[in-house]
């Protein structure tokens, strides 16, 4: 084989390789962009069942994917950070924290996670009848200088309550266990929230609640040691993109949500395109 023939073959091979790399790179870029655009939803766990020990909660996607996403067990009155999950429907099961991992978790409910929406899976009821129920949380920020707040009635000791502010503004009357109000937009300031039995003026519990501009809060009415107590959790602050406490964990579902691996995909794609462009340039230059 002559030198010229060999050079021509090399040039052809290089051109073919360059074309292949270019196509692969472009495809990877498109795929990477698509994956990066996949949105997620948020789920967290709230323990609102007095007398019930910690439970670990598992989300299993109908679409498959990872076997389960665990919402870490929290104590009574506590709310876990949000975990990001791919949109879709999940079975929600629970198992006592620390239980034998081989023991079957008990299916308790299911939740359909919509893109960019947030949910609280709340354990409510007495210990003997612990049930998981779902709260749809708000992410859209309120108007400037306003705060959004809702009340979740999760007290069994006072199964029907009225909630109002110390200024006499009624937030909800006759709220039964378990229930939630819609989010109310209120001026961002310090409020004194009071709870009383429905129809009664005797205050069961009160709490100073500082609502910051742009914040979205939940006031939980819970059973306390001697009566009713109030707990305030912040759902989101100032942005509709990521709720408070959101952590990158437990990406379930068949749809691949954005992960660090996707960034590497983009880098690989860029390298492929660069190598392809270089090979083409070299081939072209050699031809000239």
């Amino acid at each position: 084989m002559t030198a010229g023939n060999r050079a021509g073959q090399v040039a052809r091979a290089a051109t073919l390789c360059a074309l292949l790399l270019l196509v692969l790179g472009a495809g990877a870029v498109a795929g990477g962009q698509r994956a990066a655009a996949v949105v997620v939803g948020y789920v967290r766990l709230a323990h609102l069942s007095p007398g019930t020990p910690k439970v670990d909660v598992y989300l299993t996607s109908f679409r498959g994917g990872r076997v389960a996403t665990m919402l870490p067990g929290v104590s009574y009155g506590m709310v876990s950070p949000y975990v990001r999950v791919a949109p879709g429907t999940y079975t929600v099961s629970m198992r006592l924290a620390g239980a034998d991992p081989n023991s079957p978790p008990v299916l308790s409910t299911n939740v359909t996670v919509a893109p960019r929406q947030a949910y609280t899976v709340a354990g409510v009821g007495a210990k003997q009848a612990l049930a998981l129920r779902v709260l749809h949380d708000r992410l859209a920020p309120p108007s400037p200088d306003k705060a959004a707040v809702r009340v979740v009635q999760a007290s069994l000791k006072a199964p029907v309550v009225d909630v109002m502010t110390s200024t006499g503004m009624k937030i909800v009357t006759g709220a039964k266990f378990p229930s939630t109000t819609r989010y109310l937009q209120v001026p961002a300031q310090r409020w004194m929230v009071q709870v009383s039995k429905h129809g009664s003026t005797a205050v069961l519990a009160s709490k100073a609640v500082v609502l910051r501009p742009g914040a979205i809060d939940t006031v939980l009415v819970l059973d306390g040691g001697k009566g009713v107590r109030l707990l305030v959790t912040t759902d989101a602050v100032g942005s509709a993109v990521m709720p408070t406490g959101g952590v990158a964990a437990g990406l379930g579902g068949a749809a691949d949500p954005p992960t660090p691996g996707r960034s590497r995909d983009g880098l690989v794609a860029a390298l492929l395109v660069a190598v392809a462009a270089g090979a083409l340039s070299a081939t072209w230059a050699a031809r000239r």
């Binding site: 023939n5 196509v23 472009a26 495809g27 698509r34 359909t112 779902v134 109000t181």
Partner: protein
Amino acid sequence: MRLLESRRGDPSLPGAGGRRPKSHRRRPDRSHWLTDHGVPVAAALAVLAVVVGAVLYAMPDDTGGSGGTGGASGGASGTVSAPAVSATEAAQLARWVAVNVRAGSTVVVPPSLAARVHVAAPALHVQAYDGAPPAGADLVVVSRTPSHQLQALETRTFPLARLPGDGRLEVRQVTDVGGAAALRNEVRRLADAGAQLAQNRRLDLPASDARALRAGEVDARLLITLAALAGEHTLQADLVADPAGVPGSVRYRQVRITRVDGVSVARNPKVAAPLDTFVRAQHATLVPVESRVRRTTSGPAFVMRYPVPVPLGLIDGNEIPTVGP
């Protein structure tokens, strides 16, 4: 020959543009084609790749979902006549009412069931139909207040249960949105969840079963249990349709699982033991009436079967209610 090859390799050389040997005229030399046109071809392919990528990006993830929803509407209305309700079933239905209907509610039932419901649920106000049930449909209305109940009887906006034919009762749901809307919502939820389950690569189902999933024809209890089991195991299964004459809004309440984690149930029945343990540990609503390895028409399989009545509201029906302003 070497000179000719060199000239072919470089068209600028003398003779390259001249008369070529006969063989070259018959077979035009394409060895330079890629070299000459590599960049424009590459650019065209790159543009093509980007366009294809953009089209793929714009495509919805689940093309089967919407079609399934549309095709599912028939499932909700697919009630069929059935034999008269047995004493066992009547007792079961009465217990269902007692458990699922809020105390203080008014329940309107056919006279044959009134006594049983009253015994099973003394906290409910039980009314028997006075005379014939509302025209055109046999309904059991479960409402939260007597006024709602009376209104429902007049306007038929609260059909919560059906009495296909003159016997069997299927208590369906306690709802505030009206019966027709509740049924539509239920089928849509079943179809959406079923379409997702049909995509689950850990669950190997025949194509016809995947279509049934997307059509919302599969019992919610089966959907939930299969999704949970597929989270722990890879399963090969097929759904079993109800025989004609069985009432209910869904056709599939039974599944045969033939392989678990790649192992044939026929070859090793013990492979199904974790599945049985799992389903038996669940709340009563999700415990099948049958869960065992038995011989089927397609050979030994782990069979799970759920009973009628089919409860509604299991998919996405567990949100804490919103009250107040």
